[in-house]
Subunit: 353 residues, 4 copies
């Protein structure tokens, strides 16, 4: 940590700042410049010492030069984390594709979509049973029943399952029926939820808050890791900017950037990041090229008649299958393996758009 | 709702869109333009019909022209809502000042600050017992014990109390000890928390999410109102932008804008919006001029040595008292009453910065 | 300037960094921390040395602790700058109101509006003769002819005039007919225009770029000041954010913030910042309370039929006059003088909305 | 265009709005909804009619449903535009790589970098002779002399050249020495510059303003096209957001999005978009996958000692060469050709980092 003083600060004030730093149990190193004095803090300072010093008279700024997260940092854990769930590896040189509907609607719907995800070469089935909704009058998901239907479909086709959990009370029931727990963008800083997820061992997919910095995102991951659950993957799903043509602005550079800062796997969500079906295919390929360890993609057998909201960004089954075939060709050139079995086009014939 | 079609769409496709609209239980009104056809939807459409129609081929856009919230809308409730709590009125032509520390630290600290808030003319004592923290290693608040100390101080000096509640489980205990429940910026879309707050009758101060639109903010209020709790006030606390000199960008125009859209009282938070002590005084006056129904201001007897983080934006007691005296002079010129008893400067002498 | 090294950097690399710093003609002060070494740069470094050092291997970050602008800085010039033009003072404890249409349309229109601005107590007549337009097919202003009409109206009613200049070639002709040169938000970093404005002595009103930081804004002012023109005032006109209800987000805290960083006068533009007539009155008062030295407000005798685009945010003459009367009452409580002669309501009777 | 009225508007007011629309030379189509009336405007309305109608009492909103640009629109020109300059094709299924230093420094520097760009397989040499600088005290470029050195290097190695032009006066001299004119992000809405560029025939690379929408960007292109110059290519170089780890936020989805809206080629600038050397390689590949028609990449033989500012984001020659080899492998899988001659690694041996 570095303390930058105001211009022309008195020696007395400098001594007081040094005294306060030392009361914090660390040592101070004073270096006088032409118009400002800089005080380096040596040793691991308590997290709120920075705020305390910043608030002192004569202090212009305090700059943290060590990261506030530890377990999530690559400094702490140089090798890529590889999470294994039911034989599916996430991280390292593996590429994982998660596909499925925005929301589970009926047992038949989720069973058929699961069949198609598997046939296309996907490894994970996504589906929401509880849906976060901006307004109280929108469809809120069908609850636990939907989790059971998704589990049956996942078991039947040998797919790992992922679903969103929105509040601490639901963590146990979601963890009973689904394999991976998804934390949505609105809950990235729901700290009680993060703490609860630290107490289980199911892998957690932590979506980036739609206006969170990389630092806040990795600190949110730190809550889960610090709780004892090492199985955390990050998910870039777009941030909020002034541009409204796309649903969000897909911050694809976050993928290689966060992978340099952290050892955790990073998944891309081109469906929510763009909000437009026609952009999902190019942006899925772009996220692979940017270094993503996987993608979570919305696919629906009848998006035009999906009653749950996100049909506009869902791929048709044949689009999904063709995209995965392209990923299979691109992956080896980009240092990834994606050699899951894939059925021929006929398998999707009934669903061609 | 208005449906805008793609250029050169076929009559068949238009008929199909109309059919889907009518299946939604509303009627359609087709109007052909030079390059596009526009279909007006007449009647109250189900919330997800818009998404469904938007996802259809041949549809370029669907525009909602009615608001998605009802109870929070001024169309629904033309008169200002005035919330009364322990004789303090919030809304209408009343001005309310909420003051206190970021966090409750000791019984003595909160008692002394309560005395100073009252002496300065404030009506509400703020203080956090549970603190949301970006990183898991920061001070997290001292919990229920702090709520008890704050309640004692509030009762002793005749102040209404407000504290932040972060998760549904804590709503009941917070409501037992504090008068007003604060929802923080990170929880504005914690929908289970909002639903739970709809089941109590304590007033709720709903802070705007740091990158939430007015529409999302009012929809969040709608969750609480729809649950049966009519006592909701909104709080503008700054949004996140590219500017980093201030902690946030204080969107002061949100105050008159939201008051035209809604009948709910709007409180300003100049402390968090600016994050800089020297900006709190001018921005508090500016928020009064913009039409705020009150302000929530951080004040501390020893901000430079506060261990809880936000000292840098806390006023000293004498600054706080002088600011409230200025508000008393300005209020009548701006259509507000703020004639609470205020003690002379001597009362703050021991705390002059 | 402070150089922060990567963790575990070699002594050789540190020596090389120090050598490069010293080649830059300044001295280095090395201070070793637990996980990083910090090198303080002592003396005034050449502006691009920071970039050079930042690009070296082993350097994690370089932090500038002195400001990059000098003439615009309050460190350099502690007292408020007061600009005087034709007897009107801008800055210090003076309040100036600039009013008028978005664009000059006819000699009669600008003459009548000038009469109303004067009658209301305004000191400066605004009006655009050259208009920046997002698209090439919109009204682009009527050019030099409009400047002449505005000059006649200004002379007739004893008003200072301000108009926007968009390109270096037009600076001389604009300076011949108008008193104050306005630089629009899109041109804040049109450096050739800024340089040209540094060569004249007319006061310049420099609007903030709609996504410029305070630092970039003050550096843009520095271009004009460095050219030899000391008469620069800043104008906050809103920044671009995700919120679309208002035309821009009015960053009102920029006013007191920039006034602490700089001695230059700061003018507020509530018309463009909000883009909504009903928000102009509260936000004008709020900008006074925030410490603005003046406001530039759009007023039109027939905004509903103005052909030039911004009618939606223009006040009617009587609204403008009533607002200025309110400013006259508020100003003394906020440390400003605004005692210009103001005619009674009858003067605006024919223009009551 | 669609006009949405306020709730409960009178028939008289509706008639007046219709009258105003018809005065605008277009026809109106009234459709009454439950709480609002919608008026469709049929025919091509004058650009400022929308603003005029929006400003009328009783009008809540006016929505443009046709685009404000024409020549830049794919509706107008369905096929991809392919720009040919000195035998290099830009657009369609061609991939073009532009490489070179931020700024031209010496004849030797630009000659050697030109040799390396050609050897790596690049087709265009970039280099700035006039540099836009945030502050007046930074290196401003060496001017026309630099253009001559770059032209010599381009001619010698058979490379097309591109350089930034910042003001209308310099267009002619830049067009005399360089092939492609670059408009920087700060000048995207420097309308006089755009108009001047419409009068020449050199291709123009139009960088997106760092907080401009797609619509504003395409309208800026429209200025050049409307002036008669059809050779416009767009360049995504990152937008400004709250995230500061990267220099900008690379809005990669803008590439496929803008290509659906427009027929113009789109070039990606991973160097400025990320501002970090280590992110340039993955983001260059990602931009190819997203559908970019080319990339403009900073490369320098000695970035650590470049005196011009952007060394931190410049690739070393061997990194640049290896990246182009990877692009050659990826291109065919992504529908692009990039089969320029490329020399073996030895050619870059002297410059291995």
């Amino acid at each position: 940590m570095i303390v930058i003083t105001s211009p022309n600060i008195s020696e007395e004030r400098i001594s007081e700042i040094v005294r306060q730093i030392e009361l914090g149990g660390v040592s101070a190193h004073v270096s006088r410049g032409v118009d400002r004095t800089v005080i380096g803090i040596i040793g691991k300072a308590d997290p709120h010492l920075a705020e305390h010093i910043r608030s002192m008279n004569g202090v212009e700024n305090v700059i943290k030069i060590s990261k506030s997260y530890k377990l999530a940092s690559r400094d702490f854990h140089p090798d890529d984390t590889v999470i294994e769930v039911k034989g599916v590896k996430i991280g390292g040189d593996n590429l994982v594709v998660m596909g499925g509907p925005c929301a589970v609607e009926t047992p038949e719907q989720i069973d058929e979509i699961a069949r198609l995800v598997k046939a296309a070469g996907g490894q994970v089935l996504r589906g929401g049973a509880f849906k976060p909704r901006t307004g109280p009058y929108s469809f809120q998901g069908i609850g636990v029943e939907g989790l059971k239907w998704m589990k049956e479909a996942g078991d039947k086709y040998g797919l790992v399952t992922i679903t969103e959990v929105m509040t601490p009370e639901y963590v146990d029931v979601c963890a009973e029926y689904a394999d991976i727990m998804q934390v949505g963008t609105r809950n990235m800083q729901n700290f009680d939820l993060l703490r609860k997820l630290g107490t289980i061992r199911n892998p957690v997919l932590l979506k980036r808050g739609f206006s969170s910095t990389y630092d806040e995102w990795l600190n949110a991951a730190e809550y889960i890791l610090a709780g004892g659950n090492p199985n955390v993957m990050l998910c870039e799903r777009g941030i909020r900017t002034f541009e409204t043509y796309t649903r969000n602005t897909f911050d694809l550079a976050a993928i290689p950037a966060v992978k340099t800062l952290s050892h955790l796997p990073v998944i891309a969500d081109p469906s929510h990041a763009t909000g437009r079906r026609e952009l999902v295919e190019p942006m899925t390929k772009a996220s692979l090229a940017a270094g993503a360890d996987g993608m979570i993609i919305e696919m629906h057998t009848d998006p035009d008649n999906s009653a749950t909201g996100d049909g506009v960004q869902s791929l048709f089954p044949d689009q999904f299958a063709n995209l995965l075939k392209d990923l299979e060709k691109l992956a080896p050139l980009l240092g990834k393996k994606f050699d899951t079995p894939k059925e021929p086009a006929e398998a999707f014939a009934t669903w061609v758009k």
